[in-house]
């Protein structure tokens, strides 16, 4: 008795002696008894008292035990109310009828106290287990609802971040499950200012929120940089660095990124960890696979990150197919994976390229059958087309970009009061880094500007002699003198003039620095022996190497270099 708490038990029997006996037995066991004399009464008492266990005589007037049991089970709903039939019936058919009516067990007359006690105990255990199960089920439902609600909010946020995309262009087809972001797949596409399209399909490791969380910085970086014209390698590096910083070890993003130039019919593609992409050649149905030659995004530090891309010259109506491993790893009921061989077979059997996209989706779905859901399936097709047919932006940008260049000039002068405290280089470099194609050359540009500015300031404005630096003692004298003069200086200037011009293949940056100094006899400078050139030492040799030529003008107080670059976009 000590392990069963006091229960409320309904005893329904029309025979007074039987009911008396049963009531006494049950009460003796320490339970609370409520009684009924027939089936109808039993239902009323059940509704009013909500007993834990019901003992029902099978044959009763008004409504028999079978009818009462059905009604009581109906009233109990989800809750488990054990119904035990009291019966002196012993034929199989009657006992089966008891169970069919929703009875959980039966107890034969004459009553055996020990057996009744055991049955009450066992059914109480079952009842408690059932109620625990219901509570946990409700908790699971609640948790699940909350999860879905959170996902809806998160998806909403993500959709807003990804909103500016151009996935609706006429030459783009894609398939993503509605909550793809939560199985780690992300697809972003945007137009560059030059009218080419940049697309990234990513597949984060893992599922759920941890997989989704990386999609945010990825998408916002992508959409922040693409419309400003940054090159694919700049964007890949930026995303890689961000993910590497944010994501825990073991979570990273397999991705393929593409820059599709519709005007030049050119594809630039980088694959880090996704299955081979296919470039489908319209003319002969040939496929060029683009293998993953890189580690996924978010694995390597930016220093070790490799951004070299593959290039393809495409024809009108050539198609690029990119997928996450969901297609390759889709399983049929036997557990076999779809695999690349089946994918290639789909391509070789195809006769109308326009149907390839649907062929792939249907092929995978048929293979999988009804068993598993195709939630992880992400597929993207991009067809090479004339800019005018892609979207209005591509047309406009392409028309503009096709015959115009971006050209500007910037002048900058450092005044004498500021030589001591102001270093103009970070500011200038910041401006240059806003020019998309120059970003890749930041350290080169810094070196060039730093060397030229230092020369202009120290030898031009401060009139320091670089010969001083030839001995160790002279070296410290040099810097002592520099300190002295920079504190005393009241006039002079350094003017920095930077002009920028793009062309079809890249661009050219002209840097001209003029100082207020006396210049030097640059005619005597010997071009074949750079180190012997005393005026500015090794620095100029380095600049010469980076820019091709360094020209001096005026009395030697003006220096000019051209830095030209080739852009592979």
């Amino acid at each position: 008795m000590n392990d069963v708490r006091r229960l409320k038990i309904l005893v329904a029997d029309d025979t007074d002696t039987d009911r008396l006996i049963l009531e006494s037995i049950v009460r003796k066991e320490g339970h609370h008894v409520v009684s009924a004399r027939n089936g109808l009464e039993a239902i009323h008492v059940y509704s009013a008292e909500k007993p834990d266990i019901v003992l029902l005589d099978a044959l009763m007037p008004e409504l028999d035990g079978f009818g009462a049991a059905r009604k009581i089970k109906e009233l109990a709903g989800d809750e488990l109310v054990p119904v035990i039939f009291l019966t002196s019936l012993s034929d199989t058919e009657s006992l089966v009828q008891c169970l069919d009516a929703g009875g959980d067990d039966f107890l034969s007359k004459p009553y055996n106290r020990i057996i009744l006690q055991a049955k009450i105990k066992s059914f109480n255990r079952m009842r408690e287990m059932h109620s625990t199960m219901l509570t946990q089920r409700d908790q699971i439902v609640q948790h699940n609802n909350r999860l879905l609600q959170e996902q809806t909010v998160a998806k909403h946020v993500f959709d807003n971040v990804a909103h500016s995309g151009c996935l609706n262009a006429s030459n783009v087809r894609y398939f993503l499950s509605s909550l793809a972001v939560f199985n780690g797949d992300v697809l972003v596409a945007a137009m560059r200012p030059n009218g080419s399209m940049m697309v990234l399909l990513g597949d984060f490791t893992g599922h759920g929120l941890p997989a989704a969380i990386g999609a945010m910085p990825l998408a916002s970086t992508f959409y922040g940089m693409v419309p400003k014209g940054f090159s694919m390698t700049d964007i890949l590096r930026e995303i890689n660095g961000k993910l590497k910083n944010i994501l825990p070890v073991g979570i990273f993003c397999c991705a393929t990124m593409m820059d599709i130039n519709f005007r030049k019919k050119r594809l630039k593609i980088w694959n880090g960890g996704l299955p081979d992409c296919f470039v489908y050649h319209h003319q002969d149905g040939r496929i060029s696979p683009v293998k993953s030659t890189h580690l996924p995004l978010g694995v390597l530090s930016n220093r070790a990150f490799k951004d070299n891309c593959e290039f393809f010259e495409l024809q009108q109506d050539d198609r690029i197919f990119v997928w996450s491993d969901g297609i390759h790893e889709a399983r049929n009921p036997e557990g076999d994976m779809f695999g690349e061989a089946r994918l290639k077979e789909l391509f070789s059997r195809n006769t109308n390229p326009e149907l390839l996209f649907n062929d792939i989706i249907e092929g995978v779905q048929q293979f999988v059958g009804t068993g598993e859901k195709d939630d992880d399936l992400s597929l993207l097709e991009i067809r090479m087309d004339e800019p005018a047919r892609v979207n209005s932006f591509a047309k406009e940008a392409s028309d503009k970009f096709g015959n115009s260049e971006i050209e500007w000039v910037m002048g900058f002068e450092v005044k004498p009061t500021s030589f001591k405290v102001f270093d103009p280089l970070p500011m200038l470099l910041n401006v240059l880094m806003e020019v998309p194609s120059l970003r890749a050359f930041s350290s080169t540009l810094y070196t060039i500007l730093a060397e030229l500015y230092t020369n202009a300031l120290e030898h031009g404005v401060l009139k320091l002699d670089s010969n001083l630096k030839k001995t160790p003692d002279g070296f410290s004298d040099y810097y002592e003198l520099r300190e002295q003069r920079i504190n005393q200086i009241t006039d002079g200037f350094v003017r920095i003039n930077i002009s920028h011009k793009t062309n079809e293949n890249g661009g050219i940056l002209k840097v001209r620095i003029e100082d207020s100094g006396e210049g030097f006899d640059y005619q005597q400078r010997s071009p074949d022996n750079l180190s012997s050139f005393g005026y500015s030492g090794r620095g100029i040799a380095l600049v010469e190497k980076l820019c091709g030529t360094v020209s001096y003008l005026g009395c030697g107080n003006i220096v000019e270099v051209d830095f030209s670059w080739v852009c592979d976009d």
């Binding site: 025979t15 039987d18 008396l20 006494s24 002196s88 106290r113």
Partner: protein, 109 residues
């Protein structure tokens, strides 16, 4: 077969304690009512009603520890079930006599 099953009765006594006398009185009253109800029923032709009445009587007799009485009720129940409704008066007569015997012995407890 014994008229009374003393083991069952002893258990009942333990279980019912002070209510044991009430239980016996109830049984006597209940059984008397059943017998008079049966004697009316067997004059008629409703086999199912007779069967149900005999079934209930069987149950209460077996619960109180009167196995012979329960066995006689069971025989009547069986006949009614098979719709052999002739000669049921003889069966009821046997039941009445057995009940009288049970009553005597219960009073003697």
């Amino acid at each position: 077969m014994e008229h009374l099953d003393y083991e069952t009765l002893n258990t009942l006594k333990q279980v019912m304690e002070d209510d044991f006398a009430l239980l016996i009185d109830t049984f006597v009253q209940d059984s008397t009512d059943r017998i008079s109800s049966l004697s009316e029923l067997i004059k008629g032709t409703d086999g199912d009603l007779i069967r149900r009445a005999a079934h209930s009587f069987k149950g209460s007799s077996s619960n109180i520890g009167a196995p012979t009485l329960a066995a006689l009720c069971s025989a009547l129940e069986k006949k009614a079930f098979e719709n052999k409704l002739n000669d049921l008066a003889a069966d009821l007569d046997l039941i009445e006599k057995e009940f009288a015997e049970v009553l005597t012995q219960l009073r003697a407890l």
